[in-house]
């Protein structure tokens, strides 16, 4: 029994802390262990998660942690966190209009608030606040509507007038003489940003510690069915037998669905983002404007992180059109003329899977044992912990948690959409 | 009489470029697909509609611009009186085209503002805000294109060496003209 205990302890990862850093400094950091192993796939798992982004890794983590499913794997066609997890602008907020969305995103936000400690990995969740601006009278109505709904849903959103906007973020051009003056805004103080890579790595390390196999460079090539049930997946590393497959493949969801003979209400479109060269702190919050389409924050490294919009065509090339980037910077300079001499350091694109109602799908499918978590569009990062938790619940129990019940596939048939898209001036 | 208030009141002159509005000029959009439509237009106006993309045709009084396989703009080569907005051409076409169900005729005289540009820097200006490739266009008299300039839809009709007519929707015209002047001032 004692021996057993020793083995368990050895398999436990050494805790990260300032003390471990100092201790390791004496051995020139030669003795750090692997954050996660790189195993070859086993023949069979109790469940396989397809997609090693933040959502997929979180799903595996919670399956292992909360549902005691240890014999599971995450298969990733490239490297973990290399898709939208590592390409987004890291905004986290929960000030959504509809009850279902507010419930979903606030569930995630609550987990974010303790995530670094839970994972013993600093994901640098920084609650520097997210401000949404109004530029026309309908924006004002929409933002007030959302703020009232948020307040009644227990979400900390407040409405700000123009002076209060200026006070909270002094560098915004709030002159009434600009083309689309700032008429007001909302502020969620609990909202903010996090370090995207760390989220993937932290979940990977945590899942690995509980015995989850994280298998990189393993692309799914087919889904094997036994009648109406899942039997396993074909991969570039061979066949893996399993009765439960949770697909969290973002932009590639339709590609995987296709392998199972399913069609999804998704379109995969290019979404671009860019960063400036790093500068000393100049903006200490996240500001989003839907009407002029610009959102900006500043990373801990000092780069302005700027999100652009999506193109309107399907593409898997991870590239978007220059017009989108130009349009975004156009809006940035309208709101922040002081940034005119700042320089774009890098721009890149991701592939986002967008639902007609701009809300995600966390759902069972018509195939038993096949689950999809997709359709996060441009706003999936903020939901990562909640999405993983709820998807794990859905897979483990073969039925949704009440928080994600509304985000089923059947809503496209019944018409009971969660229309964040048409409902309000919400940038995702 | 009612006052006639057009948008662009000034003629602007720069080195190598002059711009002003020509008005009032009758403009019609005509639509039709049938062969009879084309021949009815030809007979009514003594003008063959251009059927090749990006081209135009011209009679003494009228110019016809190809806009799409079933759409043309016809505009008068002369200015009319501001005290009257009854156009013979429109009436004629209403009778010979609309009433006979051959196609559609719509008066767009004030839908579009006609800006006339002259000088050797026309295309230098256009290149500052239009993605259209003017390399061949500028050499071709009568060439027509619909494109964007400063994010605004425009129709450009190449008149001559160093002269084009540019059509823009009225509500956009003041903004565009101001933008064009800003560009022209630094060419």
């Amino acid at each position: 029994m004692n021996i057993y205990k020793v083995i368990i302890q050895n398999s436990m990862k050494k805790k990260y802390s300032i003390f471990s850093l100092i201790k390791n400094a004496f051995s020139y950091h030669e003795n750090w262990e692997k954050a996660w192993k790189d195993p070859e796939p086993k023949k069979e798992y109790d469940a396989v998660i397809v997609g090693g982004g933040g959502h997929g890794l979180a799903t595996a983590y919670y399956l292992a942690k909360k549902h005691n499913m240890k014999n599971i794997a995450v298969v990733e066609k490239g490297w973990i966190g290399g898709g939208n997890t590592g390409r987004n602008t890291t905004i986290i907020r929960s000030n959504y209009l509809w009850d279902a969305s507010a419930g979903l995103y606030d569930h995630a936000l609550k987990i974010w608030e303790g995530l670094s400690q839970e994972l013993n990995y600093n994901v640098m969740f920084s609650q520097r606040g997210v401000m949404n601006l109004a530029h026309n009278l309908q924006d004002v109505r929409d933002l007030k509507r959302r703020t009232h709904a948020n307040r009644l849903n227990g979400i900390d959103a407040i409405y700000l007038n123009t002076e209060e906007v200026k006070k909270f973020c002094p560098i915004i051009n709030t002159s009434p003489n600009i083309r689309y003056p700032v008429l007001g805004g909302t502020l969620q103080k609990r909202a903010g940003t996090a370090r995207h890579d760390a989220v993937a790595w932290g979940y990977a390390r945590g899942a690995d510690e509980m015995g989850v196999d994280i298998i990189q460079n393993c692309e799914v090539k087919g889904i094997k069915r036994n009648g109406d049930s899942v039997a396993g997946i074909e991969t570039t590393k061979g066949f893996i037998k399993t009765k439960k497959v949770g697909v969290v493949a973002a932009g590639h969801s339709s590609v995987i669905a296709n392998m199972a003979g399913l069609r999804l209400p998704l379109e995969s479109k290019p979404l671009q983002a860019l960063v400036s060269e790093p500068v000393k702190p100049i903006i200490d919050t996240v500001v989003m404007s839907n009407a002029v389409h610009a959102y900006v924050s500043q990373s801990d490294k000092g780069e302005l992180v700027i999100g652009a919009g999506t193109d309107d065509y399907v593409s898997y090339s991870q590239k978007g059109s220059h017009d989108i980037v130009e349009g975004t910077l156009n809006a940035i300079l309208e709101l922040y003329p002081i940034f005119s001499r700042m320089r774009m350091l890098r721009q890149w694109g991701g592939i986002v899977d967008i639902c007609p109602d701009a809300s995600p799908i966390i759902s069972k499918t018509t195939i038993s044992g096949l689950y999809f978590n997709c359709g996060w569009g441009t706003g999936g990062f903020k939901a990562t912990p909640g999405s993983g938790d709820l998807f794990a619940h859905t897979i483990a129990n073969d039925e949704p948690h009440k928080i994600n019940a509304a985000f089923n596939l059947n809503r496209f048939v019944s018409g009971e959409l969660v229309d964040e898209h048409g409902a309000a001036a919400v940038a995702h | 009489m009612l006052n006639y208030t057009n948008v662009i009141t000034e003629k602007k002159t720069y080195s190598g470029l002059q711009m002003d509005e020509i008005k009032p000029v009758m403009k019609l959009i005509i639509r039709g697909k049938k062969r009879e439509f084309l021949s009815a237009i030809g007979k009514s106006l003594n003008l063959l509609l251009p059927t090749s993309a990006n081209t135009s045709s011209k009679s003494e009084k009228l110019s016809a611009l190809w806009l799409s396989p079933d759409e043309w703009m016809i505009y008068s080569n002369e200015i009319s009186s501001p005290n009257n907005n009854h156009y013979e051409t429109e009436n004629l076409l209403n009778k010979n085209i609309c009433k006979t169900n051959l196609g559609a005729v719509t008066d767009v005289t004030d839908q579009f503002v006609l800006i006339n540009m002259r000088g050797d820097k026309i295309f230098d200006l256009l290149e500052t805000g239009s993605p259209f490739n003017f390399n061949n266009f500028r050499e071709k008299k009568g060439a027509v294109t619909q494109t964007i300039l400063a994010k605004i839809d425009v129709i450009i009709h190449n008149q001559n060496q160093n002269e084009v007519n540019l059509f823009v929707r009225r509500s956009f015209s003041q903004h565009l003209f101001s933008w064009m002047n800003d560009s022209a001032s630094r060419l």
């Binding site: 100049i282 156009n330 003329p337 005119s340 700042m342 890149w348 | 208030t5 169900n101 005289t109 956009f172």
Partner: protein
Amino acid sequence: MTNNLRVKSSKFIDETYKISFKFNGTTYYGYKGDTLASALLASGIHLVGRSFKYHRPRGIMTAGSEEPNAIVQLHINTSRTEPNVRATEIEIYEGLEASSQNCWPSVNFDIGGINNFLSPILPAGFYYKTFMWPASFWEKYEYFIRKSAGLGRSPIEPDPDIYEHRYIHCDVLVIGAGISGIIAAKTAAKNGFKTLLIDEKSYLGGSTIYQNSEHFKINNQISSSWLEKEINEIKKIKNLEIKTRTSVAAFHGYNFLLARENLTDHLPLNQRNNKIRQRLLKIRSKKVINATGSLERPLIFDNNDRPGILLSSAIDKYSNFYGVACGEKNVLFTNNDSAYETAINLNQKGIKVEAVIDNREEVDSKLIKEVENNNIRVYKGYTVVNTSGYKRIKKVSIMKLSLDGQKIIGSKIYINCDCLGISGGWTPAVHLFTQSGGKLKFREEDQVFIPNKSFSDQISIGSCNGDFTLDEILSSVPKILKEFLNIKKSDFENLEVHSSFNKSKRNIWLLPSDKVIGKTKPFVDYQNDATAKDIKLALREGFRSIEHVKRYTTTGMGTDQGKLGNMHALGIISETAGSKMGELGTTTFRPPYTPLTFGTIVGRNVGKYFDIFRKTPIHDWHVENNAEFENVGQWKRAWYYPKNQENMHDAVQRESKAARDGAGILDASTLGKIDIQGTDASEFLNRVYTNAWSKLAIGKCRYGLMLNEDGMVYDDGVTTRLDENHYIMTTTTGGAATVLGKLEDYLQTEWPELDVYLTSVTDHYATISVCGPDSKKIISKVIPDLDLSNKSFPHMSFKNSKIDKIKCRVMRISFTGEHSYEINIQANYGKSVWQRCMEMGKEFNITPYGTETMHLLRAEKGFIIVGQDTDATMTPIDLQMDWIVSKKKYDFIGKRSLYRSDTIKENRKQLIGLLTENPDEVLEEGAQIVADINKSPVEMLGHVTSSYYSPNLKKSIALGVVRGGKSMIGQKLIIPMENKQINVTVADPVFLDKENKRLNA
């Protein structure tokens, strides 16, 4: 320090044109043609900045856009300030003021330098492992992290400069005007291609142009002389446009490229006003020739980052091009022949070269011989193991390399120096090629990635294609061009080339040290302070992919995007992980190639040109009459017309009252207007609107509601039948373009068999709406000939008419519930007609009203505004507009969706009226509506969509949507605000004149 570092006059520098500039507050001098870097070096200054993480002193390392260290802030505390400018790129001008960044209080004494001593506990990724306790403290730690991060400072004033765009379409674009680019441009242009040649430098000719060695000759002329003649020739070619100081930033698909043309950054400040600073070239080229050259690699050894350590090629350029000696006691360290060129050049100019350290054991070439013949000591088979000197290199220590290159042997030799040139061979500049989607292949013999496959019509030539030596270039380039341009012959075939360069190279990614790696600092990414040991740590911790390592260590994430160190990072990963370089892949080179100013990207689309400003034909009148404006889409609409310092509320109350008591006048010109003609026009309307149209009589108007295919309300408006086959449709202001687009879509793709033509006439007409009990009297004065009797001209009908001789259409339609007329007249007469209405209406107190009053008046009548009372989740049934949904029609857009299981539910959110208990209390639009405030969680039934104080009803009225609201008339509900609860009663949404008596009053 001796100031005679100008060693020889250079034809590229104008020594008669002296320029003074300031660096960190001290005045220095340079000459026209100098960069800030060359001028500083000429003044003996190497220490320019501090590194990102450890704040180590750093100096000028290169002579080009790959510079990682020497980045400065220009004109701090002015509107023209600019952070992170590379001293190696900025040309000096009179008045230039530059300062060091990321240091406090000064670059010489920087408190942040303490990080260098803490570096043992700050390995790669340390922040992921700490700052987690206590949980609530992260933001406090973060405050300090953020403060010490960043490089320069953001400007804090608006930019005084102007930027511009230019679209260029050409046949051939040549990127880079080195020897290969010059040959390519001349070949293309001479063969009739419209050609554009671009180079980031201020001069043409690349590195060949300052090549003055007898060792490199073309047709028996020194290569630079030969090239100079070629350059003079190409300047005369008509169809060749040449752009210098222009840097290609991005190479996108379909040969679309972005380049930044720098126009004023080299001019004295007082010569810049009103000039375009930078121009963004948007280039579409049929063919692209990459002649982007190559970058010299550094070598990776302990403390390879000190001020005074430069690339060997940079030392060469500073002496040959700028006439500046980087040091007085130079040592060169190389793994190839390039450094010998530098040694020979320095020696010729009388600049002392102490030694050349070559890691190759058995090498020989003409260049090496010449160096040795000049009594310069060459240490073959040696490596530098360490350097010393805090703010300037003082000494190098070298040791013999083992045969396999993995270890050092023997004892240390120390060589004093004040400058160390390093050369690790050459890396083709393939950044743009890969941006365009091009795939690379790895060439084992000299460990370089070279272009392989591309998706667009492009080619790479010269050293960016892996042909580094003069003879290779001149033999390969003409051949490649002939094939690429499909031409028969080239002027550049059969040149006689003489080159002494020996290609051998001994590539060792990480040079061995006499210390354990944990104790060393061999920098791979200088700017971000990422060392070889950081890379090894990342690998040890399981970060195996290049992208993981890059992100974990921040290698290649600096403002230089790792132009110098990325190859070494790959090499070290490959060696450590035991994988092959070719299989490892490369990191993605993301655009832009060099950072691109936001202002340049945006061009002139700032300020008043940020977005289009649409004006109605009556706009000027509104301005003259003090209207406040509201943005509706791109339109500016008159919002209200304050009189005598009225506030908005008072103005709107006055306007609303006047419109119902006498007459009001509204500019409705922004509404979308679509002319619909064709024999199937009625059938078309049947399909696009929810109601039936076939039976509408000629001359009559009808209100229509348009749905999306998902059954939700999309747009609304009145459509008038002008003739048997002719209608005019009006749309909402914001919906005009999208409605036309949607209708065209259905016509062209779903119903091409319909004979229908749509033409937008929104701008053709001015639309003037006159309403109120006195409207009839006013219109009868404006258009005396028109029969306005209810019989001849009833509500919902139209008449053709004339005002003076100008034809117009008059509709009797009403959005206020009042007796109203809408005059549609050609736009250029609109203002005049408006003025006439005002004049004729004076006796009836005709009052112009804006959109706010319009909204109030229609709310009194319970008319919806699409987009305000609807939100893309409302069906016509939800709006209590069942009457407009035809039960008889077989189909219309959106019909099927109205019968889905959710859309047929009884308790959907439905439009209702709301009356407050206190009639003076006006609800907030957007406020939520609940039945039971004590329920937890609170159930929100809906929200307030429109809310006003009605001066005509003398009470507060509101519209809202409430779950199951239809059946709740009379029921009490609560509006919970932050600080109070407001009691309301559900009411019929029509508050005024339910019987529509006023329409004919």
